[in-house]
Each structure stands twice: as C-alpha cells, then as structure tokens.
C-alpha cells in the first residue's frame, strides 16, 4: 500500500515552495521522523548539529579554506569541512566542492584537500567494481592473527562509551551524540577496537554506519579494512603521544586515564602484535 507522506505536495499541481515543517523548525522534523520510525528505541534521541539539505551544505562550502586545510587537517581542531554527510548523500557533488576549492586557491595549494576528495572516489570505484569487498576481508590480516582470533561483536563497554580509556570514551560520546568524528578520531577509535580489543572490523564498521551522518559503505568499510590491515600492508595503530599531538584541549589525553595507549610504538607493537617480528 502506497502511503503518501505529504499528501499536499503530491496532489498539488503547483510547484511546492514553502516546506511546512521548515517553518516550525527542527522539532517538527524530529517528531515526524519518530512517527515514521516506530521500531527505533525511545532512548535513541541524539541529533546532530549538521542539518540535512542544500542550505547546510552551502554553509560548510562557504567556510572551506583549502590552504589552511593543507596544514591543519590532521589536527582534531584543524580546518576540516564537515561536508561529508552532504557528499555521501549526494546533496552536493564532489565536482562543485573541488571547483570551489580551485576558485579559492591554486591547484598546488588545494592539492591536499582534493586528494582527500579523491579518497572517496577511490573507495566508490572499488565498491562499484567489487561490491563483495564491503563486508569481506579483501586480504588476510597482517597482524599475526587470523579472523577467528577476533571477536564477532562489540563489547558492551564500547557500545556505551565506558571503556575507561579517556580519549576513546570521548570519541565514542561524540560519535553517538553528534554523528560526526574527525578522520583522525575515526582512525584512533577503529584502531583501538581492532587491535587493542581485537574485535572484527565488520562489527565496528556496522556500528559506525548506524551513527555517522556520513556513514557510507565504501568510505567506511574500506577504511576499517585499511585500519585492520585487510586492505593495507600493515595494521594502523597509534600511541597516546600521537593523540596528544593532534588533539585540542577538549580531548582527555592524561596518562592516568589512558594507560593502555601509553608507551612507545615499539612497546605497543610488541604488546598488540606479539606474533609479528618487531618492526619499528
């Protein structure tokens, strides 16, 4: 049975100009989405700050600064754009974003930014050519472990952001609360889940897809495989010093609340990948 969501629009022969819900603000949207989603638990109430639609995309686009991006993008408080949910849902085309960057700067200055856009195109091309790679390991793990060594599901403390590791719990709170995480925070969280907790990347990827406003099967799952090492030469891992270097003041990087992440790369490598030859 076809159910008209907004009868007025469908029956009208006039172009629809004013969105009724728009006038009453986001509250009306929240109510409508709730009505349309009877199976969502009532406890799932968080909404992101980024508002869907072309207007929101334009706000992000107007703020891009390709030059500053190039020098600061790895920092959690760097000049990243938050365009990803709009790009992921095709609200705005990557061509338009690229062209804006090239109006603001030279190709050389915009190179880092456009390279990041190209990551998305790369993942999309792989998704198109090999859809099975979205959920299957592309290659073997290069961690000294086999898939059976990894847990199938995320433990409860991760789902609830109560791991006891300060910065990790902060990133989880941000993921659940806003649906957005900086690329570096995604790497830290995914690395923690795959290598410190030894959970299959698929479980983490599924969880991210539920919460990220930009949740995209290709960019997300293939990035998880990159972290896990099933689509890269080596596993991605990090240490507390690195988190501290790229974090602003609002990330908890105190050694006493982040003990599992503290140590040199050599020490952590030996702890996380005991079956491998020491590498760094």
């Amino acid at each position: 049975m076809v159910n008209l969501l907004d009868k007025q629009r469908v029956e009208s022969t006039q172009p629809f100009t004013v969105a009724l819900l728009e006038q009453s603000g986001r509250e009306a949207v929240f109510k409508r989405v709730r009505e349309l989603s009877p199976n969502l638990p009532a406890s799932d109430r968080a909404v992101g700050e980024l508002k869907g639609g072309r207007g929101g995309a334009e706000q992000c686009l107007d703020a891009i600064d390709p030059v500053k991006y190039g020098s600061s993008r790895n920092h959690l408080d760097g000049a990243v754009t938050q365009l990803s949910p709009y790009i992921r849902h095709g609200v705005i085309s990557m061509g338009e974003v690229r062209d804006r960057a090239l109006k603001l700067s030279t190709p050389k200055q915009a190179e880092k930014f456009i390279q990041q856009l190209l990551w998305r195109e790369y993942w999309q091309r792989i998704y198109t050519a090999h859809p099975e790679r979205i959920w299957q390991d592309v290659e073997a793990y290069k961690t000294g472990f086999s898939p059976e060594d990894y847990a199938d599901n995320l433990p409860r403390d991760i789902l609830e952001g109560r791991t006891g590791v300060g910065c990790i719990d902060g990133f989880i709170a941000q993921l659940l609360g806003t649906g957005y995480l900086h690329n570096h925070a995604r790497l830290y969280l995914a690395g923690y889940i795959c290598h410190w907790r030894r959970v299959k990347w698929q479980a983490g990827a599924q969880w991210f897809l539920a919460h990220l406003l930009d949740g995209d099967p290709a960019s997300n799952n293939l990035s998880w495989q990159w972290v896990a090492s099933t689509f890269s030469h080596k596993p991605y891992y990090f240490n507390l010093e690195n988190v501290d270097k790229f974090s602003g003041f609002n990330v908890d990087t105190r050694p006493e609340t982040n003990a599992p992440l503290a140590g040199s790369y050599e020490t952590l490598f030996a702890r996380l990948f005991p079956n491998l030859e020491p590498s760094r």
Binding site: M1, V2, N3, L4, L5, D6, R9, V10, P15, T17, A19, E22, R26, V29, F30, V33, L36, S37, P38, N39, L40, D44, A46, V47, G48, K51, G52, G53, G56, P85, H89, G90, V91, S93, M94, G95, R98, D99, L102, K103, T106, A110, E111, I114, Q115, L118, W119, E121, Y122, R125, Y127, L176, G179, L209, A210, H211, L213, G215, A218, S232
Partner: protein
C-alpha cells in the same frame, strides 16, 4: 509521464539524471523505514536524511521503493542516478523487467584509464591527479581537459 527516483545516494536536483530525464519528468523521494531499520540507522541519521529530502521540495512517499515506484510510474520510463548500492540496484533491476529504467552515472572527479591499477590509493592518485586537480570549467562534457591556463572568477 516519466519519473525520477531521487534516492539516498543522490539527493540533489542538479544531478545529470535530471537533464537526461527532461523537464517534464516528475522527481520523487521515498522514505524507506524498513531499509533504515535493516541498516540500523540511528535517529540522527534518519533526521539528516529526512531534512535533506524535505529541502528538495519534491513529493515524498513512505513505503517500499519497489512498490511505490511501480504503482506510480506504471510502465512509464523511470530514471535514477546510478549507484553501487546493491539494494538500490536490485530494485532498479526488478523494475526494469516491466518498464524502461534509465540509470545515469554521477560525475567523476577524475578520468583514468579503464585498466588503471586500483590496488592501493597512491597508485590510483598518480593516475587521477591531473584531471582531479583540473576544474570543471577547464574540461569538456566528457571530462577531458580543454585548456590548462588558470581561470579565476
């Protein structure tokens, strides 16, 4: 009348599918609760998608896309932006058994040889870089670079 299915991978009115379908084609969006449930989408994701759909000012239906689209378009031509998403592909393939379905690709940023090495990102980047770093106004419709001097507006 022909229809354009504006699905969740291409929620804009300047996608090439609009040009291909022509001005008289009717765009529609379908709110698919069942699929959102299946994918485990949180409330915030659904809100973002709803707001994006609403901002398009096109008719929004709720239901299973296959059902809605076959009831609406009833044998006429259906246009949709192409996507790798297997769920959307499957719906389009099923509909294509009874009516004309035209899929229109999304513009690529870069143009690379069909046999380019996609094994790792940087091998792809080396091939894709030149066309990716060239603005649309310096390319023809097929994406080939037509001039190399800088243009600023």
């Amino acid at each position: 009348m022909s229809y354009i299915w504006v699905h969740e991978d291409a929620m804009r009115l300047d996608h090439p599918v609009f040009q291909a379908a022509g001005g008289s084609a009717q765009p529609v969006f379908i709110w698919d609760t069942q699929e959102h449930d299946k994918r485990g989408y949180s409330f915030k994701r659904r809100v973002f998608i709803y707001e994006s759909a609403q901002a398009l000012n096109i008719p929004i239906y709720a239901g299973e896309p296959h059902e809605v689209l076959s009831a609406l378009s009833d044998g006429s031509v259906l246009y949709a932006a192409d996507t790798p998403d297997p769920y959307i592909q499957q719906i389009l393939a099923e509909l294509g058994r009874y009516q004309d379905v035209v899929k229109i690709g999304t513009e690529d940023l870069s143009h690379i040889p069909a046999n380019a090495d996609m094994g790792r990102f940087f091998r792809f980047w080396n091939k894709a870089k030149k066309s990716a770093l060239t603005a649309s106004w310096e390319k023809d419709e097929a994406g080939h670079i037509i001039r190399t001097e800088r243009h600023r507006s």
